[in-house]
């Protein structure tokens, strides 16, 4: 064997342990979960007897009773949570990045403040915002409600994440959770946009100014279009986090009264590890995986192909 071929083999052998681990722990386990989702495993002891699509039917049709009701609410919650969370993060993240790009004194301090929540655990975020939006009771008001009462703004009090009102399928109780999640992730958007803004050569802006463009015009016609790839990356990364969110909601509110703040991640966890309905938990997680894959796979293919071209 030639020297080059031998070394290529050694290179492959060095990376082989990682390949095997990923093959087993990612792909093998996904296959295993898919098998469980098609089984009758409903108890502590494994039971791989074939059930066909029964577990999925129970999530999507009347046959499932409460499970189907809960899962329908979960999917609506995920949809609204994702849309609003992405909107808030991108808009405020972009705004903060543009503001910080104006030769700001103390830029470092502002940046540190906007970004520090990223260093925290979702559990920490959940505990603090649970306190802030805890409604309390009529006689013992807590959190923001107590503050509103002290300010004489009782008309603005509501039951926050325990409120059962909804507009169509949109549960108002999701709003406090979206605020908490956005608080944690806005800084990420800001950091990405700021990196993008810093990558735009000053000559471009200068040339536009010479041509008589206004500062706002420069942003609208030159800078914002150049930031589009960053928006795409931010949407994908935040979007897939939002589709699989668990710890923040689980800590802050749990499933809530009438599942107002429930998400598939919580349903999966509770039905699997507290209810021992393993097959149902597996079915939910397979649906979560499909939702995430729908977003991530095109993105991976796209960004790696672009990398190869470069």
């Amino acid at each position: 064997m030639s020297q080059a071929r031998r070394e290529r083999w050694i290179a492959f052998l060095l990376i082989l342990p990682s390949i095997i681990l990923i093959a087993i722990f990612v792909y093998g386990f996904i296959g295993w979960t898919a098998t469980v989702s098609l089984s009758q495993w409903d108890g502590v002891e494994p039971n791989y007897a074939w059930a066909g699509l029964k577990n999925f039917r129970q999530l999507f049709t009347q046959e499932g009773g409460v499970s189907a009701t809960r899962f329908r609410i979960d999917l609506w919650n995920t949809l609204f949570f994702t849309l609003l969370f992405l909107l808030v993060c991108v808009v405020i993240g972009l705004l903060l990045a543009i503001l910080l790009d104006q030769k700001i004194k103390g830029e470092g301090i502002f940046r540190t403040i906007y970004l520090f929540p990223m260093a925290l655990s979702f559990v920490v975020t959940g505990v603090v915002w649970q306190w802030i939006f805890a409604p309390g009771t009529e006689t013992r008001l807590r959190g923001v409600n107590a503050l509103l009462h002290n300010l004489g703004l009782d008309a603005l009090r509501w039951k926050w994440y325990t409120d059962t009102r909804s507009v169509g399928p949109f549960h108002l109780a999701l709003i406090p959770v979206i605020i908490a999640a956005a608080w944690q992730m806005i800084g990420y958007c800001m950091a990405m946009y700021l990196a993008g803004l810093r990558g735009i050569p000053e000559e471009l802006r200068e040339a536009a100014r010479v041509d008589g463009a206004t500062e706002i015009g420069i942003y609208r016609h030159i800078i914002l279009p150049m930031l589009q790839p960053i928006t795409l990356s931010a949407l994908i990364v935040l979007g897939h986090i939002s589709l699989k969110i668990f710890d923040l909601v689980y800590t802050m509110t749990g499933k809530g009264p009438g599942f107002v703040t429930d998400v598939p991640g919580i349903f999966m966890f509770e039905t699997t590890f507290q209810g021992n309905h393993y097959a149902q938990g597996a079915a939910i997680s397979i649906i979560m995986l499909l939702m995430v894959a729908l977003v991530i796979i095109p993105y991976l293919v796209f960004s790696l192909r672009r990398e190869v071209e470069l």
Binding site: A191, E202, I296
Partner: protein, 292 residues
């Protein structure tokens, strides 16, 4: 950044700039509300947090009893302290971070300097592993850990973090080593170095910034992680601090000063790293969006 701006456009204070600063300060204050809540509540006595009319007011003094309670617990009320859980987090995070960084460094080296056939397919397949919802591997994972007698142990959780850390650590190191000129590698090979020799003599000595980014990233993520920990570790005395904290806050107790003190204790390690090494933290953050 201001270095390459033209000096002609010096900045004066005008209404627009006052508006910009006002907005920035307003957002900064909004972002700091949870910090205010955390600090203020944790410095109150139990009697003070019970007084709901003064919920948002500063404490009457610097009361540290909440930190004592969060650390050692309140045995007469059946509340566990978090000291053991903090240690568990250290026992979990330090080995898992070191092992996964080393693995990532080796993988990144191979993938950036020894492109073998199939690497273009393998790499995206590996990357996909960092985006999956971990719920979709959780049932087989708990079954497997139990079967190899690592269920319910910190070692089992370390293994989990090392394995699922492979994609992100490999990605960061691959992008990092891609910047190292191939000439250096070629020169070392002409001098007779083999694969591992090139790594030890050329890449590894240049790796410090790469390791700093990856170590900070992994440390923060593993310290903050919840889903794996709560699914794998049932016994309170082996749980890391995130799980113990959520159990404390979810238990309907009234001791909010103790909970907030515990939350601060859980947050301090990663916050300190962020404040001291923010630059490297952001680099890890941006690397997570695939195109580093």
């Amino acid at each position: 950044m201001s270095a390459h701006r033209t000096p002609r456009r010096t900045v004066r204070l005008n209404p627009t700039r006052i508006g910009i600063y006002t907005l920035l300060i307003l957002f900064a204050l909004l972002f700091l509300i949870p910090v205010y809540v955390l600090v203020v509540s944790s410095l109150k006595t139990f009697a003070e947090v019970q007084d709901l009319s003064r919920l948002w007011s500063p404490p009457t003094g610097l009361h540290l009893e909440s930190f004592r309670a969060a650390w050692w617990g309140i045995p007469e009320k059946g509340l566990r302290g978090l000291s053991q859980n903090l240690l568990n987090s250290v026992y979990l995070t330090v080995p898992a971070t070191i092992l996964s960084s080393m693995l990532g460094s080796l993988n990144g080296y191979i993938l950036s300097k020894w492109r073998f056939r199939g690497a273009n397919v393998l790499f995206p397949l590996m990357l996909f592993g960092m985006f999956i919802p971990y719920q979709s591997i959780l049932i087989p994972l708990t079954q497997t850990l139990a079967a190899i007698h690592l269920g319910g142990t910190i070692w089992g959780l370390i293994l989990v973090h090392v394995v699922y850390g492979i994609p992100i650590t490999t990605l960061i190191f691959r992008n990092y080593y891609a910047e190292v000129p191939t000439d250096l590698v070629e020169a070392a090979r002409i001098d007779g170095a083999n694969i591992l020799g090139v790594y030890w003599r050329v890449l590894f000595p240049l790796s410090v910034p790469g390791f700093v980014v990856v170590i900070i990233w992994q440390f923060t993520n593993i310290w903050n992680e919840f889903l794996f920990a709560v699914s794998i570790l049932q016994k309170p005395d082996v749980q890391p601090i995130t799980v113990a904290l959520r159990n404390l806050a979810g238990s309907q107790i009234q001791e909010w000063n103790m909970i907030m003190a515990g939350t601060l204790i859980a947050a301090v390690p990663t916050l300190l790293i962020y404040i001291i090494m923010g630059r490297y933290f952001i680099r890890g953050l941006l690397a997570g969006s695939v195109k580093g």
